[in-house]
Symmetry: C2
Subunit: 223 residues, 2 copies
């Protein structure tokens, strides 16, 4: 039982490490776009290798835990959720790489920008990611619900950004190429918010599972 | 033991049902773009609700199986992989919805197209998806490796498509808007191929886990 607690704690810490790395990549990739900073691009590329390695370690840890500790009830749900969140975080790291690639592409073009607020959209997405992970770690359904509500704000902002980028691109053929990079940056941020929403939905399912478990315990059901 | 086999079989069948539905959505979303067919758009939207429901059923099945059957070794890896693949498939269903949304947006615009081969790219992505799922179900590392090799072909095709779409958009401001929709269709297909690649990488890890298990069994390690 003591080992189970220790290993769950280890899994928890590794997931936080993973989400910290992914968050770092997102911040740097956005900075790379906004400040035209190639150093940040390279750091994001380096982070990716660490994120991929950590993904495998977390999967192995979760499988080991299932095999050796055979957790039940809420602990079992915690481990299976970890596997899903781990998968989502790895994809989010890939999106940060995509954004960094756009930053790199934009460096080869004149420094003109559409009138869009990338840092604000990035901040929204980042807050959603952090809240979704916190909601998981603290088993906090209310926090998970705030993430679901934020998704509407992101969708609205996304529509405005797309309209502004289209206008920017229509002004001159030379703006089509950089416009596409900005479009993919906006799309990347939108997808990050989608991933956070997916995690938050899973957390609600996870926490609802806790309620199910309370009834189930009475009937000796290990769920 | 008999129950374990039955429940693994059930999980297997549900995953195949899920991947069948997702594949259907992909085919329809691409047809909707190519043939300007709004009927297909609506079917993809309807599929999404079924896919989301099935995702929850599969997760519950996997958690139930872990709790009640406590599988070890390769069976345990099969179940944890199922959770990851399930997550990937749900995301792929979302991508099909994105493509269908592009089809819907294109219906409101004149029927001019960039010179790009969407059906071919779609066929490549679809083959990769089917092979990655087959590789999982048959525990076939060689088939998984063919998926990884296909990813280069998709990336090359993607670069060509992007260049053609940019050229198309640069020709007239009125082409910017439809061009963006085509761009997102191409991007969606690329991401579908990425998901298939992720699954194939996981399958290799899964099958390698089988080898590890053979050594492990001798030392009584449940992995």
């Amino acid at each position: 039982m003591e080992h189970l607690r220790e290993e769950l704690e280890e899994l928890n810490n590794r997931l936080l490490e993973m989400s910290g790395l992914v968050e770092d990549s997102i911040v740097r990739s956005v900075n790379a776009v906004v400040n035209r900073d190639n150093e940040q691009v390279l750091t994001v590329f380096n982070n990716e290798a660490r994120i991929n390695k950590l993904e495998i370690q977390i999967d192995n840890l979760a499988i080991r835990l299932l095999a050796l500790q055979q957790p039940v009830a809420i602990d079992l749900r915690f481990v299976t959720m970890s596997i899903k969140i781990n998968n989502n975080l790895e994809r989010m790291g890939d999106i940060a790489v995509n954004i960094a690639e756009c930053a790199h592409s934009l460096l080869g073009m004149p420094a003109i920008k559409p009138h869009i607020d990338i840092p604000y959209m990035a901040k929204l997405a980042q807050d959603m990611i952090r809240s979704s992970i916190d909601a998981f770690v603290r088993k906090d359904a209310e926090l998970a619900r705030t993430v679901l509500r934020s998704d509407d704000a992101v969708d609205k902002l996304r529509d405005e950004m797309y309209a502004d980028i289209v206008k920017f691109m229509e002004e001159a053929p030379s703006r089509v190429h950089p416009g596409i990079d900005y479009l993919f940056v906006a799309r990347g941020l939108e997808r990050l918010a989608d991933h956070a929403t997916n995690i938050a939905e899973d957390v609600l399912f996870f926490v609802q599972g806790v309620d199910v478990r309370h009834h189930a315990e009475m009937s000796q059901n290990p769920l």
